[in-house]
């Protein structure tokens, strides 16, 4: 049963879009749809939020 479950998981196509989907991490955020930059700000890392926004701009402009 365990082997079958593992195999089924391996064959399941992975859709990559958000951290929650990538890692299965449930974020400790109150508001729904909070983006990662805002999350970093909440966790006391505002500079990481700034860097993250910059990377998003660079990716979008490429």
């Amino acid at each position: 049963m365990t082997q079958r479950t593992t195999q089924a998981k391996k064959n399941k196509p992975t859709k990559v879009s958000t951290v929650e989907e990538n890692y299965g991490v449930k974020f400790n955020v109150r508001q729904k749809n909070m983006n990662l930059a805002t999350y970093f700000e909440q966790q006391g890392l505002p500079s990481l939020a700034k860097v993250l926004r910059k990377t998003e701009q660079h990716i979008q402009h490429s």
Partner: protein, 179 residues
């Protein structure tokens, strides 16, 4: 920039992915006790330092038109040219007359030397003295995590350290964008 340099977009994607990795650790750090927190911050600091090192590399790459030499001393290697007779030398080992080849220690040739890149930026006045101090702080903090430099297991890593590294990361991004 050189033909084989990575683009701003590729760097941005790599940083973005690593920050997603960091976010999973940040998410978990609030759930654990103080002693366990230092383990999470240790991993966070290592990931953040790797981003800053990549930023410094990219910054030098963008600032310098040619592949810059980071060290005055060349890398020496030897190419065998003529095999000497074992019989004449009376040796069982083979000896050669070799040509000495000197390869300059450029940015591309010695990837991974955070120290050399920081020193280069300082020497060429590419960054301010305060930014150099912060980059060296990150390098040294990262090196304390490397096992070969550890002299004790009693080390603590904190949110304040991660935050300080993040501030420098944001400054480095401004420097890259200003190139």
């Amino acid at each position: 920039m050189h033909p084989n340099s990575i683009s701003d977009a590729v760097l941005a994607k790599n940083i973005n992915t690593t920050l997603q990795d960091v976010s999973t650790l940040v998410n978990d750090v609030v759930k654990v006790n103080t002693r366990a927190k230092t383990v999470y911050y240790k991993a966070i600091i290592l990931l953040l330092a790797s981003i800053v090192e990549a930023q410094v590399y990219h910054f030098i790459d963008r600032k310098c038109t040619a592949d810059p030499t980071l060290f005055a001393k060349d890398i020496k290697s030897y190419k065998p040219k003529i095999a000497l007779s074992k019989a004449i030398l009376g040796s069982s080992s083979q000896f050669y007359v070799a040509e000495e080849i000197a390869t300059p220690r450029t940015l591309k040739n010695i990837t991974g030397s955070f120290n050399a890149m920081n020193d280069f930026c300082k020497e060429k006045s590419l960054i301010s003295p305060s930014l150099y101090t912060e980059l060296e702080y990150i390098r040294k903090k990262r090196n304390t995590i490397h096992l070969q430099t550890l002299d004790t297991t009693k080390r603590s890593y904190t949110l304040a350290m991660a935050s300080r590294i993040s501030d420098t990361m944001a400054k480095m991004y401004d420097e890259i964008d200003a190139c």
